[in-house]
Amino acid sequence: MHFAECPLILFTIMVQMAVGAFLFLGVIHHLSLVRLNDEIFTVISKPILNVTGFILVLAVIVAGFHLGNPINAFNALNNLGTSWLSREILSLILFLLSGGFFLLIYIRHKLNRKLIFSLALITVALGYIAIASMAMVYMLETVPVWNNLFTPLAFVFTSLILGSGAILHALNIIINKKKYSLLLNEFSIQKLTDPFKIISLFILGLLFFQVIIMFSQLIYLGSGDETLRSSFGILIEKNILLIILRLLLLLSAFLWLISLLVKYNRTRDLLLKRKYYALYFGILLLEELIGRYLFYAMYFRIGV
């Protein structure tokens, strides 16, 4: 892997996490909406949306570091006809615009709820279209190791795992902030903990499948044709320790979450234990960074 790929690791992870976070914030909102005061939710989700926006802006800046000649960057949309890279950039711009528009409207929360809901849906859809185009960029006929279902799977899983992890972590921080805890009475905290539980169960499933995907991909590469086996060779010879570390991290995130859920059943106060979720999110972030590093490391093109 070239050092030059570092910006791409960060860029893809940040965009995918932001899209996932936006999705899960919506899901939590929806799940708690029935009983939780709309205004309270707006107050706590505003900082989360701001941070998400900040991460996206940062991602775009980081992507600029990948370019040898960023001055020409405005040319990047020239080839929408055949280049998935152009299409990726376009869909990302649309996602950013829609997200920005959503934020503008959401801040004035007196506005029509239906409008906000549809805007949120459009933004999520655009986000996943951007992630799909991102996957298409890598699915090159000349790079068989990327040209398969594992690429979009990896990107979508990053978005779901990190997006949900980031939201749990962020809500956890907010609930523990004095400013907000005054606003949130016992009752509304209780309402927030229900979605926490549902989402945590969902993530457990995701983590489980992530492990299955990792093993299936290794089997797929190891039993494939010559080029696939070359990539497999690169992974095993040079990166086996990272693969093992990644598995261990996945496993610990899995166990950590289970232990949280078990304890949480006894007392919802767990939600107030801030560092638990911070650690959990940190583990996942590291796991996904390693996963993306390996994704670029296994690059192997046919031909010379």
């Binding site: 030059a4 990948h66 370019l67 040898g68 000649n69 960023p70 020409n72 960057a73 040319n75 990047a76 949309l77 020239n78 080839n79 055949t82 280049s83 998935w84 890279l85 152009s86 950039i89 960029v137 090159l140 006929e141 000349t142 790079v143 690059y299 093109r301 046919i302 031909g303 010379v304």
Partner: protein
Amino acid sequence: MKKQYAFYIDTSRCSGCKACQAACNDKHNTGNGILWRRVYEVSGGDWIRKGNAWLPQVFAYNISMACNHCEDPICVKTCPTKAIYQRKDGIVLIDENKCIGCRYCEWSCPYGAPQYDSNKGVMTKCTFCYDYINEGKNPSCVDACPMRVLEFGEFKELKKKYGELAEVYPLPDSSITKPALVINPHKDSLNKPDIYLAISNKEEV
């Protein structure tokens, strides 16, 4: 019919002297480790059983490779800026004023043709010496070869003269980009799936 310039390489004669590579560097002043034309040294072999004896059967050959100005160039399709474009005569060029240096073409081209210039931050590659062709001269590499391995010309005519082979190990399946390339194969380069062979000068190319 559309014009299409092409290269002919006679790998059976190539001695691996790299005069073509040097002439190209010289003509285009590439520097910075950039090789628009590269000579791949392929070697392989195994112990073969004959009666009661095990005999070594080893071989080596060279392939001189630049951009093949493909008929269906994957680089042109993937480049987001249209910096890479194909002229009416089939020559594929990079417009450095448009290139953003994303290196996507380098990822996709199976011939290793696009070469990144880290000083300029843009991609560069073989231009087929179109300036020489305009003047009625041969591309620099063609004239430099002491073994007369390289030739260039109209793709149709080269095919008529030398046949249609456009892939030998380690080149990719020619149906992917339809390279404007005609090869006269070295006798050992024709598929030997059961014998070990590999590019032996990887650090050089």
